[in-house]
Amino acid sequence: MAELFHRKLERTAIGFVVAIIAAASVGGIVEIAPLFTIHTTVEDAPDMRLYTPLELAGRNIYVREGCYACHSQMIRTLRDEVERYGPYSLAVESKYDHPMLWGSKRTGPDLARIGGKYSDFWHVAHLTNPRSVVPESNMPAYSWLARTALETEDLGRHLRAQRALGVPYTDEMIANAAGDAFGQAAPDSPFAAGVTQRYGEKTQVSGFDGVVTQLTEMDALVAYLQVLGRLTDAAYSNTAAPEQAPNPTN
């Protein structure tokens, strides 16, 4: 009977295509659509911050260089992972991430909570030549990041595109994007105050690559690495073994 039905089906090209679409659609619809409607999919985190323009620029460099090919940003709910990297990752921590960078492979360690664990200076030295600080490392060297000026003029457009996708950047943030990017890496400049005012007191304002006169891609990438895992403290109260978020003094 079923075979007879199929013998009819395979005589009509359009019917066959419709059947393929029907069969192939079910799984995706059942698994994806509820992720938007079930409220508990993404936890509440009232203290969740936004990426500053400099951090977003750094994130785009992380994407551009394909860092996600070797580093995950997703600590799984396994004992050894929590002890090695920190509290397991929550969905809310990447709720503003277009795209998510959870990764699929750890040729290098997970970076979900790398923020604040090392000094800016260490990151700059490590990115410039990983083997100068970790002799056994197989990570590529990114010395040219410190020599490349950061493009800031279009950051307002980036923030606007993000807002169109639901990230709550304000008009003020969009208007001041380029200045805020500069100010976050130049603590003594007049632009610095606006950054913490717009993005919160917890925002790290520092020289990052150690040179405050020029804003480089190294500044942006280090700023991004330093904010990883620190946009909200939700994960620290949500874990089986609560602990303090790192509070570096670099």
Binding site: E3, E10, R11, A13, I20, I21, A23, A24, V26, G27, G28, E31, I32, L35, F36, T40, V63, R64, E65, G66, Y68, A69, S72, R76, L78, E81, R84, Y88, A91, V92, E93, S94, K95, Y96, D97, P99, M100, W102, G103, S104, K105, T107, G108, P109, D110, R131, E136, S137, N138, P140, A141, Y142, W144, D154, R157, A161, Q162, A164, L165, G166
Partner: protein, 560 residues
């Protein structure tokens, strides 16, 4: 003149009207290139605009050079249209060598990181997608398009339903691949694995793919057989579902129309699910369904035996089409993705073993009774090994999708080993088996230039695959165990760095295995090139023509 395989011979297969249509399309591509170059300026989008307009200019020159050549003869409909397949095979081999070379290079970089030469374009992160795109879309995609054009005509006993559109599909797809790969060198990427190409390349691929779908469906509508053959079910599923996956996963907002950079509309946990729904079903419908189509045609042709069971074919086809789409969430075990989705993904992944092994079993039972051919014929042995690795890697896939197993394997080289068991052992083996079957008949040669070189290729490929997969099994399991090993005091026994240091011997072995596989592909390209160059044997091909009602004797009349 249709026996001449320069580009002038290919343009001659088009009527003047068709040559004009081709030129109109090429001019449109050229204009789009100019617009992209103007809007992009110094942005990578501008560079891509220049590439697009050069692509258009090059094609225009090819068509113009033969524009006033004589038109094809009236009996054109009584031939199959194989020129696009021939070019597709050449492109398949070119991309194979490029993509596999990038694979060997990136593999070597993991063992010797200074092989990046301190330049931005040559770091592992930028090169890795050139490898994955090069082999999946460049090598695999061209092989699928080329063979689908060949198979759909033979199994429908009808000529392709278009003269210009097959070229549009083939060359348009390659333009997509070129934009994708050149973009990665410049750092243009969405960071979505296996969907890294940016918004404008993605839009272009939609246009190409819709044309492909219409062309394929119209050719099937011309068929002289009442039933649609199994291989075409798989090609249709491949074309239709890849379109759905591609569109949904790549929805994005560009920062501006003058910039390559865009932001995906999906965020966080939903993005992870959409990405791996796409990613896993790129495996399912690009790397499985399409290549099963090859299997269902070239295996019976080469073995000279009919497919063992029609019912098994039906069972496995619908099982694969339905189950696979649920399985993507097994890439996200123990993550912030809700548990219920992980459970569904695991369950369907395990169930997938049934249709997968139904396919593999159907293929092996087809070979049952022809084992002496498998022993003697290296081409059939390529297909046989492909089936074995298909069975093996689908079993491994279901196994790795079980949550506690995944706790050990995920994030490690085991995943990489699993992927390559499938990509080398299954996808590349079935492709080379199909190409070795196809090339002599397509170019009307009695056999390949050198059967010995086919044999050499076979053993290089087997050795390369085994070395690669064993290296990654070892490194992956070792890595996973080191990460979770505790001392008696209850602390982690190894630092991450300890696990990296332990990887180096395996990374060297893996690069060596990949190198052997690349050498095999180069041997194949040489052998095929020499076969094409050889003087045609006088093989009677009058039986290999579509049913048109015209007298088949007219087929031999030259164009002039």
């Amino acid at each position: 003149m249709s026996e001449v395989y320069g580009e002038s011979g290919m343009v001659q297969q088009l009527t003047t009207g068709e040559r004009q249509n081709a030129l109109v399309i090429i001019v449109c591509v050229f204009v789009v290139g100019i617009a992209m170059a103007a809007a992009g300026g110094s942005d990578p989008l501008g560079v891509h605009g220049v590439i697009v307009l050069l692509f258009g200019a090059g094609l225009a020159a090819l068509v113009m050079r033969s524009y006033y050549e004589p038109e094809p003869t009236q009996d054109r409909p009584s031939h199959y249209y194989d020129d696009p397949t021939k070019v597709g095979i050449a492109l398949t081999l070119a991309w194979a060598i490029f993509g596999m070379f990038m694979g060997v290079w990136t593999a070597a970089q993991l063992a010797w990181p200074d092989l990046a030469f301190d330049a931005p374009w040559s770091t592992f992160g930028r090169l890795r997608p050139t490898h994955t795109t090069g082999v999946i879309f460049g090598f695999g995609g061209n092989a699928l398009i080329a063979t689908s054009f060949h198979v759909v005509q033979r199994t429908s006993r009808a000529r392709l339903a278009g003269q210009v559109s097959p070229w549009f599909v083939l060359l348009g797809f390659n333009l997509f691949c070129v934009l994708a790969v050149t973009g990665y060198f410049m750092g243009v990427t969405q960071s979505k694995e296996y969907a890294e190409a940016e918004w404008y390349a993605d839009l272009w691929l939609v246009v190409v793919w819709v044309t492909y779908f219409v062309l394929f469906l119209r050719t099937i509508a011309r068929r002289k057989e009442p039933h649609i053959y199994v291989a075409n079910w798989y090609y249709m599923a491949f074309i239709v579902v890849v379109a759905i996956l591609h569109i949904v996963n790549n929805l994005a907002i560009p920062v501006s129309f003058g910039q390559a950079k865009s932001y995906t509309i999906w965020a966080g946990v939903q993005d992870s699910m959409v990405q791996w729904w796409y990613g896993h079903n790129a495996v399912a419908f690009f790397l499985t369904a399409g290549f099963l189509a090859m299997l269902y045609y070239y295996l019976p042709v080469r073995a000279q035996r009919p497919i063992f069971s029609y019912r098994l074919s039906i069972l496995s086809f619908w099982g694969i089409t339905f189950f696979y789409m649920w399985a993507g969430s097994h890439h996200l075990h123990y993550t912030a993705l809700p548990h219920w989705v992980q459970n569904l993904g695991m369950t369907f992944s395990v169930m997938l073993l049934v249709p997968s092994w139904a396919s593999a079993g159907n293929a092996l039972l087809t070979l049952n009774g022809a084992w002496q051919k498998v022993r003697d014929d290296a081409t059939l042995r390529f297909i046989f090994v492909a089936v074995i690795f298909y069975g093996l890697s689908t079993f491994e896939g279901s196994f790795l999708a079980i949550r506690p197993v995944n706790a050990l394997s995920h994030y490690t080289d085991w995943t990489v080993g699993h992927v390559h068991a499938g990509a080398l052992g299954w996808v590349a083996f079935i492709t080379f088996g199909s190409i070795y079957t196809l090339v002599p008949s397509l170019w009307k040669r009695e056999r390949m230039y050198s059967p010995v070189l086919v044999e050499v290729h076979f053993w290089l490929a087997v050795a390369g695959t085994l070395i690669y997969v064993f290296a990654m099994w070892n490194s992956g399991i070792l890595q996973g165990l080191m990460w979770r090993t505790y001392t008696q005091e209850g602390t982690l026994a190894y630092s991450f760095l300890d696990s990296l240091v332990a990887m180096y011997p395996y990374y060297i072995a893996r690069a060596f295995g990949g190198l052997l596989f690349l050498l095999g592909a180069i041997v194949a390209a040489f052998n095929i090139w020499m076969t094409v160059r050889a003087v045609p044997a006088t093989v009677d091909r009058r039986t290999d023509v579509p049913e048109t009602g015209l007298a088949p004797g007219a087929a031999a009349t030259p164009a002039e």
